[in-house]
Amino acid sequence: MKTWVASLVGLRRDRRALWVGYALVAFVLAVLPFAIDNSIGRTWVRVLDFALLYALLALGLNIVVGFAGLLDLGYVAFYAVGAYTWALLASPQLGLHLPFWVILPLGAGVAALFGVLLGAPTLRLRGDYLAIVTLGFGEIIRIFLNNLDHPVNITNGPIGINRIDPIQIAGIDLTRNHEFFGIAFSGAHFHYYVFLMLALASMFVCIRLEDSRIGRAWIAIREDEVAAQSMGINTRNVKLLAFAMGATFGGIAGGLFSSFQGFVSPESFILLESIMVLCMVVLGGMGHVSGVVLGALLLATLPEVLRHTASPVQQQLFGKVILDPESLRMLLFGLALILVMLLRPSGLWPSPTRRREFADTKEQR
């Protein structure tokens, strides 16, 4: 075991071996959807697509919660803003059909604007007061989406917006089946690659951000706001930047979500969704980019796995389905959250610095 680890560490120093490793990972990621499609079915490729979207969301929230230490319980509001921006600009609802490359930055921009708008009044608040105000904002946005169908019909109310245009890149409609080099790609496959690219790009941005001047300012604010301020950090601007940056990620994810689904409704943006993304961040390891992505992938796929196994396992064990599989899976999900936190309070994969801090923290609340 030890020699194996040692050889791995040795490999990391070796440039050429590193590139081989990257190539291997890239190859696995590239063939993954086909392997899944052929072994356990296309549903799971879609599950994977959603998991990647959640990874995007979790990365965005990680900037706000993990880096800057601002507890945001209404993050789903930005997801909703992005999704509805996309839905309004590319569907028969308003008769607009703008192209992908126009809506993507526009959606991100609108979400960022909302991030600043919601962030500005809450700058003075700390800790749990901030949490409850952001929660309130999230609910307000959802209620407005739910009711803005009269007197002027903008969002189509609880029914939601239908027939949203699919993503079109270089003339390829991502929801259709295509064939390249004799390989058949389905919509789920295309979305996988697009989402994967975006998730990898976001991870890269986050890692670079963390070590940048701004990232260090965020972390300084997280650790001690007063000290950060006295070291010359403009806490107001830097906090607003965290909100805007996090919101941008949410907005992009929201836009992709609405075009991937083809429809949006306020149902998708309930408080539980915000809580879910927060759980991904904390469970994975707050402030650690890879940990957060791991948390997102796990929490997005786990309920699906439970959904598909809850009935058959009962069938096998007792000969019939005794417990409602839907509530059973959420029950197990809740249990998993509790257990992981009890056993690893700093997350599944905390960043090395945080782990050290946690090891010598004696009195922290």
């Binding site: 608040l125 800790g127 007061y129 904002f137 609910e139 509530s327 509790i338 309070p345």
Partner: protein
């Protein structure tokens, strides 16, 4: 005129229940600095247990006087909720008392999801009609109507809150609770058994939550496995509105939130010329919350600045 009075009465009924639940949040927050997300679920379990007891006693055949049925149901609900809350604290919160701040928050969310789905497995997805025990004949007060049940709700809430204030301010246990909220370490050095005090806080909050659950279910004559979540959210909002960690603040915040909701919902249509309907009831509650916190970040009665955050 009478519409206004009616909305005020409705708001008072709603608000006193919010206040009762909010106390459970604020007491725990005052001592542990933890948003106990599971509290709303404890309230729901209280209503469900009371419902089960009532149905079971009605099914026994012998016609017991309704007072006894109600008393048995409430007592059972209180007992179950106290035991539940005690074990939640033991299992999910106590091991994490020194962990990073967000860890217990996540376990609280986990417990909430767990309890809600457990309730769904036990009691099913359907809405249960809560038996009507108190007569629903409305009394007329100056053009507005109020039922016996609503009078009872206000009276019970007022009595419990007075009792709590007396407990906290004039008993040994209450003094220990205040000391622990002030500074747990020093309180421990002074000979207060902190663990016992924290358990007591959870248990007292749960008992009040159980009563609140029965009252809410009786008021709407409906009980449902998901009734706890929104109620808990509103109650927590009320606690923050009043200044979290402050008992008087929770009561004030609860009443205010109830009044704002019912009056806001009653008048928002007229005020905006029909542009916004009564669906915006919740927006009102949250808007007021945001405004209050932006102008006065510690809540209405909060004196302790949130410096520990």
């Amino acid at each position: 005129m009478d519409i206004f009075l009616q909305q005020v009465l409705n708001g008072l009924v709603l608000g006193s229940v919010y206040a009762l639940v909010a106390l459970g949040y604020t007491m725990v927050y005052g001592i542990l600095g933890l948003i106990n997300f599971a509290h709303g679920e404890v309230v729901m379990i209280g209503a469900m247990v009371a419902l089960t007891v009532m149905n079971a006693m009605a099914g026994m055949g012998t016609a017991l006087p309704p007072q006894i049925v109600l008393a048995a149901a409430v007592v059972t609900a209180i007992g179950v909720c106290m035991a539940l809350s005690f074990s939640i604290e033991r299992v999910a919160y106590r091991p994490l008392r020194r962990a990073p701040r967000l860890a217990p928050l996540i376990t609280a969310i986990g417990v909430s999801i767990l309890l809600q789905n457990l309730a769904m497995l036990i009691w099913g997805r359907q809405y249960h009609t809560f038996p009507r025990i108190v007569s629903a004949t409305p009394h007329n007060i100056g053009g507005a109507s109020i039922t016996d049940l609503q009078i009872i709700i206000i009276a019970v809430c007022a009595a419990i809150m007075t009792g709590l204030l007396l407990l906290v301010h004039y008993t040994r246990l209450g003094r220990a609770m205040r000391a622990t909220a002030e500074n747990p370490t020093v309180a421990g050095l002074m000979g207060v058994n902190i663990n016992r005090i924290i358990s007591a806080t959870f248990v007292i909050g749960a008992a009040m939550g159980a009563v609140a659950g029965v009252l809410v279910a009786a008021n709407y004559s409906i009980a449902h496995y998901s009734m706890g979540f929104t109620l808990g959210l509103k109650a927590f909002t009320a606690a923050v509105l009043g200044g979290i960690g402050n008992l008087g603040g929770a009561m004030l915040g609860g009443l205010l939130l109830g009044l704002i909701e019912s009056i806001g919902a009653g008048y928002v249509g007229d005020l905006t010329g029909g542009f916004l309907g009564s669906h915006y009831q919740d927006v009102f509650a949250f808007l007021v919350l945001v405004l209050v916190l932006v102008l006065r970040p510690t809540g209405l009665l909060g004196e302790r600045v949130a410096e520990r955050a």
